[in-house]
Chain length 488, copies 2
Amino acid sequence: MMMEMMNYLFAPSSIAIIGASNNFAKWGFIILHNLLMGKYQGKIYPINPREKEILGFICYPSVKEVTDQIDLALITIPAQEVLKAVKECIEKKVKAIVVISAGFAELGKEGEELQKEIKEIVEKAGIPLVGPNGQGISCPKSNFHPWMPVYFPKPGKVAIISQSGNLSTWLAEGLENFGFGVSKAVSAGNMASLDWADYLRYFAKDPETKVILLYIEGLKDGRSFMESAYQTSLIKPIVVLKGGRTPEGIQTARSHTGVMAGEERIFDSVCKQAGIIRAESMNEAVIISAGLVGSPIPKGKRVGIITSGGGLGVIAADYCKEHNLELAQLSEKTIEQLKKILPPWWVPGNPVDLVAGIRYAGPKEILPILIESGEMDSVILIGVGWVHTMADMSELSPLKDRFNFKKIMEERKAGDLRYCQRLRELIQQYNFPILLVSTSAQRALDRKLESLIELLLNEIMLYPSIEQAVKVLSAITGYYLWRTQREK
Amino acid sequence: MMMEMMNYLFAPSSIAIIGASNNFAKWGFIILHNLLMGKYQGKIYPINPREKEILGFICYPSVKEVTDQIDLALITIPAQEVLKAVKECIEKKVKAIVVISAGFAELGKEGEELQKEIKEIVEKAGIPLVGPNGQGISCPKSNFHPWMPVYFPKPGKVAIISQSGNLSTWLAEGLENFGFGVSKAVSAGNMASLDWADYLRYFAKDPETKVILLYIEGLKDGRSFMESAYQTSLIKPIVVLKGGRTPEGIQTARSHTGVMAGEERIFDSVCKQAGIIRAESMNEAVIISAGLVGSPIPKGKRVGIITSGGGLGVIAADYCKEHNLELAQLSEKTIEQLKKILPPWWVPGNPVDLVAGIRYAGPKEILPILIESGEMDSVILIGVGWVHTMADMSELSPLKDRFNFKKIMEERKAGDLRYCQRLRELIQQYNFPILLVSTSAQRALDRKLESLIELLLNEIMLYPSIEQAVKVLSAITGYYLWRTQREK
């Protein structure tokens, strides 16, 4: 029941904004305006006893005065008035509530009492409540962005639940930098009612969500978290970024969301038992989540490496070893097949160093050999889309009258595009984890690099560095091994 | 003497390209063409016995036939012919040589003999030789880019010396992503003659170089490396990325540059003794180098944090602790001063959480208080340039006829610009390490975000993540402590 009601949080047909305002510096304005900018298509009812009309909508003194059904109420009024508003929502049979207002448990004893009272009445009424003291939620698929930042993530497959408003936006923005989007984002605030366990159970079943990304500062109920995380991990991967790993971080968290961060050692053991993938930084949280959306999960630790340069191969080999992965051993048969493609001075082995001399198309032929060998569980391909990073000789060359550089560059760009299309086909054909590393990845969308966009638009992750590709591979391989052991 | 001759590598008045070609697929073409595209202003002499003219230049059968003085000879002919060409260069009194050709020690015994012979004759003649088996060099200040990639770094203060050609380019490109440039880049190849110690001694004295960044796969002479690194570290910071840290990496390095990577434990101890800053990844190598150019070095471990969001403060506090730094303790006096600026619900402490409610200009007043308190050695400021990341309401808002969003956005952008200008002034005024974190950092140049470019153009580092800022702070603080201990 509660689970079904949670759908109203993310795709309501009608919303009441309790505390809506005509003053563009107020939260009640910003949220309403974000709904309009985000192109929300449902009905909107501003609630404010001191206004007759807000931004062109009829304004009501109380949610009870609205004659229509209200699916979701969004509350931005001062803390002292929130309890009364919540009670009115329950009377009105509102289906879900988001409280953005701060001034509860994070401020001490008095606020905690108030928060507890709200918790009790919504749970008695069976209504899901997000917050208080969060920045709101976002559901791109419903064009629904009732939150504080003027930022609208693109639709995607990562659910973000965060105990920090800023982090819910930063993580979504981080995903978008790699071309990935979010299914739902929740700034969960003080978690008066809906708790980690509720969110995990909901997103485990949510068909739009493939990966669940959490920013956690503290747990009120460790056992319930672990049980729901364990059950969820058997279905979908959970990635966790934990704030409050050190005494200094715990101290800071206490004045932030008013929860105890708990002991790092215990939390780490909980994660290991529950199959949770831990990220060490915001950046890692983003790339692991995107990697899980954009790549099949490897079925073992053996990694094959194809590199466009020797030094890059050395770095990749080091990282694999340092992150609990193994360099795949190539059999004589595989080496013989590769020798037919690679130049005579190729030094046989993994990493497969393409060395100067092989034509750019090489990997298209090498990849099937490596994958079909059965000798590896994943492949890292270093150096994708290099032509696009070259200076455009057709414009800049002093010899442009002598050589048709325009034609040469166009041919190379077209070749790059065909190459990337072929990579995408290979990834789909084999459903095999091929991790693509490209220094141009982070700038691909901004710079309109056709060939790389071809990949990004098809939700294929481009890793900006070898280190990141290896970290993701290590994390998701570990998750696979955890899950298959439990499934036996 | 040798040291002075090395200047001819980076700023020659005349260059001979031995192996120059009219065929645009050949290295002898690419290098010559890169010289032209890079706008090299010196004299160019193509050498090729089978051509009369190359790209409009008179072609000579041998370097000896050129009547003019040759400062630098660049060799791209097959390995077997290199020795003869080098001998001719010595006869011609060429001042420096770069050998790009491969086929030496990296291929085994025979190549090693050839390499040794070249080493002996150039050292006897007192001529500096880069390579063989590198991709060339680059000196942006001289508009001089005789190397393989069609990529021309911007001038800056980081010297790159790399045992991998690809890495010399990737590292330079990485620096440019943050708005930083290179003084000189050297793809050092097999290091037949010029060795780590030579490069370190040269760059320690080079007035254009502030930071020395090395990619090392192996050392032939560990003691000489350590001694020169120690002496250099007392003058300028050295950042090292090491390839071949694991048996897998060492194995890969062997077939790459033909050197032994040596034992990780020993190398690590060498770095500690010689004051070398070790980077764990290419990304870290880049941000630490840029950080050293773009920020004064902190004089101790005490860090102050200013954050635009609670969760970000928690993460920053954790990282500082995990990276051997301390959260600065604020005195009663400092807290009283801050209370006058921050809203009444501010929870006193470090991180200084700006919480919702403070005006954007806050940090401008908070920074001087923190710096002048003497209670910290550095400050991390999280959340710079946020206005630019907002959707442009003047264009997208359905209410644009009702509200003058255009004016509001313009005012906000102007405010952002003033804010960033003030930050720059504060950094210059106090000459104090203020590390700025901005999620928009990596996209600032592409997206033409005025306010952030204001910072970048003044060589101030913008860190894309808290984690990166803390890692840099930790690395450069460690370097400071090493250096001051030695200087006592």
